[in-house]
Symmetry: C2
Subunit: 346 residues, 2 copies
């Protein structure tokens, strides 16, 4: 990476020079940002609102592989995964801080590319970058993001408030990010075995983008407001559908029935899973990183929800004693299990 391109040495700039360089063109757009980068702390204002705060850390070799992850996409994704948590509270995201650990061997141009993605995400989602920390790392690239936002107290959706009989809903489609990752891993292996073979990702744009450039579902939060539906509980899908459903059920002290045939799968996800001899349903249940919203709504909201193209009703909430169940296409009832990534790793 960057072998044939311009390389500017970060060590010469130093930490403060680097921060100045990367932040000099920041445009603040949030009226609540009183003071952004450049002091000991950012100063923010949320008059009359509750403040939402969430944080995630992304590590090279654990969460991303620079062999197939463009830095601009990585910066974009690091912001998205954090904004997704604010939207999952039914809130408006307004600010982020970004802390980076970067090898001093990284050229300035690489850090600039990473920041391009960060700024692109901030601009698109109307969020201000207001602070951070930049340090050299002996340990690969490290990205730690904290996202802030706000909501009226009455609008906040927690995980522990799903009610019996509520409809279980999900935005978008599932499993694509995981299948996209399988594809990227396969092409990486082929390339490592024979560097003359170029990656073949043709026609697979959708699932590759689901992995490399997810979009947090701000639009769904806005849509739900527009149709006057407040979810009874909500969570974002970072660890796979099964894990997130179980979080809601456990914290709400409820059970659920999830119907396999209702789980929304994109045709490309389905076909590519089959190519890999993977069960598309398991990809959706345990694959993770889709950053869709999983939420419950009262049955009375059924008519409003059923008209929405981008929302699918996939089951309903039951009493706790009924357990959390997956009803398969064949009508067989299995206890729902959160297996997460490890399912696929052995």
């Amino acid at each position: 990476m960057f072998e044939n391109q311009e390389r500017t040495n970060i060590e010469q700039l130093g930490e403060f020079g680097l921060i100045d360089h990367l932040t000099k063109n920041i445009k603040l757009t949030q009226p609540g940002t009183v003071k952004g980068v450049g002091d000991d702390a950012a100063v923010l204002d949320f008059p009359g609102k509750k403040v939402l705060v969430s944080t995630d850390i992304l590590l090279e070799g654990i969460h991303f592989d620079l062999a197939y992850t463009p830095l601009k996409h990585l910066g974009y994704k690091a912001i998205q995964v954090n904004l997704s948590d604010i939207y999952a509270m039914n809130g408006t995201a307004t600010q982020v801080t970004v802390s980076l650990g970067i090898s001093s061997k990284f050229p300035l141009e690489a850090v600039e590319e990473l920041y391009e993605g960060i700024y692109l995400a901030c601009e698109k989602y109307n969020v201000d970058l207001v602070g951070g920390d930049t340090t050299s790392s002996k340990q690969g690239l490290i990205i730690s993001v904290t996202a802030m936002g706000y909501a009226e107290e009455k609008d906040i959706t927690y995980r522990n408030t799903a009610g019996e009989g509520d409809l279980l809903c999900v935005s978008g489609d599932l499993g694509g990010a995981y299948i996209g990752l399988q594809l990227l891993e396969r092409e990486k292996q082929i390339y490592l075995e024979n560097p003359n073979i170029q990656p073949d990702l043709e026609g697979k744009d959708y699932i590759v983008e689901r992995q490399l450039k997810p979009e947090a579902r701000k639009d769904i939060v806005e849509l739900l407001k527009d149709i006057d539906v407040k979810p009874t509980a909500m969570i974002d899908i970072s660890d796979g559908l099964a894990s997130e459903i179980l979080h809601i059920c456990k914290q709400s002290d409820k059970g659920c029935n999830l119907y396999e045939d209702k789980i929304p799968l994109d045709p490309m996800t389905y076909e590519t899973a089959r190519e890999f001899n993977l069960d598309p349903t398991i990809c959706a249940l345990s694959g993770g990183e889709d950053y869709e919203l999983l939420f419950t709504v009262k049955q009375a909201d059924y008519d409003k929800i059923k008209l929405q193209m981008d929302i699918t009703i996939i089951g309903h909430i039951t009493e706790a004693s009924a357990g959390c169940n997956l009803v398969t296409k064949a009508g067989v009832v299995h206890p729902l299990k959160a297996q997460g990534w490890n399912t696929f790793k052995s």
Copy 2:
């Protein structure tokens, strides 16, 4: 480390099991913490106040060396360095989030020890732990903390508001954390060369503690309120006195005279610097990690400040064209330079 002690495998607990285990006994003390750990985002309330947010990342091999840093101290320090930024805004710190990257080879007992220090700092400084992210790391220990707090708008102290003629003040004493580090590094080298020789830190508790277990100066913020002094500018000393003075002067578009003979040095710092053939003044100017507060006050506040045992007036602010100067004990005037850690590395 931990060779002869109980070892519980983190991999078996999994991420959620680990988080549950570490956070199950959290006691929330801040009335503004509406919802802490356990949802997509924490929910906080700061009625009528401005919100302060600051973030810092600590990396193994860059910011700390586990060869001589007890994990409990490290957890404590990770919180302190972040709270220090909130106090440097003249604010009240109220919440933190903590993201960790931990090798899966770390036993649970090690993570518990780290958290003991985190909780100890939170308890002592009356701050709630409200969220975070925990992941396995292939890259050594990574600790990313975000601190939040609040202040009335009129009370906030920025870096860019020092006025000509203002007095330059500092809390506590300087250079100790750096000298403590030199001592720990020396004992590590001796131990590596001959593991039968035990570290000799006797009588050096003060400077070792300055390095391993710094205390953010919440008390100084409270003291200044009690004596009714609002600093005209303030910053915390993480990178050495010179660097921080230059930040205030540059951002305020001012110059300064700093008097070498006024810089507060603890006798142990002075003596140990001499043992290492280091200039104690340079340790204070460029050593860093003292986490004292550097601030400017109006001359009219001189009578209030001069009575405070733990605050030292070390110079004054001048017009920008006069430059930033160090007046040595011999009366020679040198331009003040921020050399930071690198001074000592060659």
